[in-house]
Subunit: 354 residues, 2 copies
């Protein structure tokens, strides 16, 4: 049976990427060796790393604009700390739109003063605050473009007078925006870019070198840039598989093309949520995420039936996060429209049964 | 042609591990889903993580002795910082036996006072210092059990009056020692345990919680222990493949059995280096590493012939590190004795030609 995998992350990857990654583990490029057992300093791997870094800038439209791409370890969570280590001198402003923003704030607070420029905590993060100010004396402004857990997404970004840092873990490469409005973008690979185990950081180099702190080497973006993203042994397999996914995205027509697919999927999903009286969307309509649709079943008595039908249809991982409850359909780049169709079909079938 | 891969890291893994890892990428356990696209909170992955953590303690003989095993990200290099963050209150002592020890010292120095209890830097690290003292008022003592670059190995460890921390990146699981003499052991996976992308940390829990520093969450061993090594998304594939390698090691008969194999390989290698007048060992004999044999070719005129013969025999990655020059044969757990035989054969054939 065909599987429809709505996992919020680690999440679905293109089938052809999985096949290539699987082959490379037994025999990389007909070398007779596994990708896992060659030196990261070998030409083979350096080529992979450089290709991945170049594809990132090309796909985001950031070539020749002073940006560098890094594939680091530690997850997006480690960036919560690294950003503050590299950029926080006195104070910074954070937009609090969910659990991940909150964690980013908590981690940075250990180093210096953090101010929430706005927060939607008062409504369990079901909307995106708007119309806030960003003081000019902040070292930087931090936001989370897509709130994986709550299913909200920033459709517009503020005109920040200070460097703008964005956690794009769950929607990078999914939509056309002016990526050059950001000075630092970061994202764990495990949603739109690859397997868990590497974190993409895209930095405008000129924002670095401005803090007085003695930054530990392993946390110093400058050192990682200087070492070509190989300050120490990189997570070889995760970088390679991310490179394959970026190649796949380019073959699809890049971000502009995948955005159209993502919009189709989201439209279909939300129209079912809205039109079907059994379901209710969680996020405020104008802030709905095209990546993670969060919704609840209005009639608890139908829960068992619904979940049995999902299983029957090969649909997995649509359970909501405990802080929201209900359901969450994650529709990242690699999820086919057919999978959304399958889910929507089950939802509408449930309506006829109810 | 059969390949003989002497890479220093990332390095050779057991063929059956590679095959299983390759399969899991297309279809994990007949689930119809790739290992890469399932949630790290799923039962499937939690089982993998728990099995890997348990196997570590079992193989090292540390079950029921107050230790916890963690699979983190960031490489062994990130532990240089994390150890100091968690354990360094006033001062610590480091044994400097090579480039990696030196880097560990440099990183910890950013936080507080570090003293070298002894160093072999004066002889390009070709021996292991002995007979030094470890003051009782140090927060901890740090050593590197095997010096990957220079090819030296600690055969005995000091009787430390303070917690003993050891970087075992390049010889963990390779020999029978009393692992309980250490309070913290760490190792990048990419030599004896798995692919690059995860770092094993084994900690005696009672050494934690003694510093006044406000430790960043992502660097806090206690937080990682509390979260069952899933404080944030773990490097799923690297942990799985490490688990497979640990299972393989257990099937081989564990550390005691693999140590015998490793001794055979090292004996064969070093006897050729010693008996063949064309070659000379780099490390002082009593401190020679069973994992990385470093040696030079005495007659530079034979370099091209030797390297052509190596290539012809399918032998790869025996080039030495630039800080030592010459050659390095890394003979980690997964390297078959046959590969050492093949190398030794080429070396002795060169002698007949010379
Ligand atoms: C928006 C966002 N930020 C940060 C994270 C944390 O990522 P990691 O687990 O790689 O640290 C996640 C994980 O789901 C996320 O969705
Ligand atoms: C003994 C030792 N320590 C530390 C490291 C650094 O490991 P990583 O590249 O994972 O940071 C290495 C890498 O070869 C090593 O051999
Ligand atoms: Mg969130
Ligand atoms: Mg509705
Ligand atoms: Mg060394
Ligand atoms: Mg000799």
């Amino acid at each position: 049976m065909k599987k429809h995998n709505f996992s919020a992350g680690p999440s679905i990857l293109p089938q052809e990427v999985l096949l290539k990654a699987s082959t490379a583990i037994v025999d990389y490029n007909d070398s007779g060796l596994s990708l896992l057992e060659i030196s990261h300093r070998s030409k083979d791997f350096v080529d992979i790393m450089e290709k991945a870094r170049a594809l990132v800038l090309e796909l985001l439209g950031l070539e020749g604009k002073g940006y560098k791409a890094l594939f680091l370890q530690g997850g997006a969570s480690s960036q919560f700390l690294m950003i503050a280590m590299n950029l926080l001198e006195k104070r910074a402003g954070y937009l609090n739109t969910g659990s991940w923003s909150t964690k980013a704030i908590k981690e940075a607070e250990k180093l210096d003063d953090i101010y929430e420029v706005a927060s939607s905590a008062n409504a369990n993060f079901n909307y995106i605050p708007k119309g806030y100010d960003i003081p000019e004396d902040y070292d930087y402004f931090h936001c989370t473009s897509n709130n994986t857990i709550f299913g909200t997404q920033l459709k517009e970004f503020p005109n920040s007078p200070v460097p703008m840092v964005c956690d794009m873990s769950s929607d990078i490469f999914s939509r056309v925006i002016d990526y050059s409005q950001f000075d630092l973008i970061y994202a764990g690979a495990q949603k739109n870019m690859g397997p868990a185990g590497t974190t993409l950081v895209v930095i405008k180099e000129d924002i670095l070198g401005k803090v007085s702190r003695n930054i530990p080497s392993i946390m110093d973006y400058k050192k990682h840039i200087g070492a070509g993203s190989m300050f120490n042994t990189p997570p070889v397999f995760a970088v390679y598989t991310s490179m394959l996914t970026l190649e796949w995205l380019k073959e699809q027509g890049g971000i502009a093309a995948i955005e159209k697919e993502n919009e189709k999927k989201a439209r279909l999903m939300y129209s079912e949520i809205d039109l079907n009286p059994l379901f209710k969307g969680f996020a405020s309509k104008e802030d709905r995420s095209d990546m993670n649709a969060t919704f609840t079943l209005q009639n608890e008595n139908l829960k068992e039936t619904f979940e049995a039908m999902l299983k029957e249809a090969g649909i997995s991982a649509v359970n909501g996060h405990r802080s929201v409850g209900g359901y969450r359909a994650s529709m990242y780049n690699a999820l086919p429209l057919d999978s959304v169709k399958a889910l929507v079909e089950v939802m509408s079938e449930l309506e006829t049964k109810a």
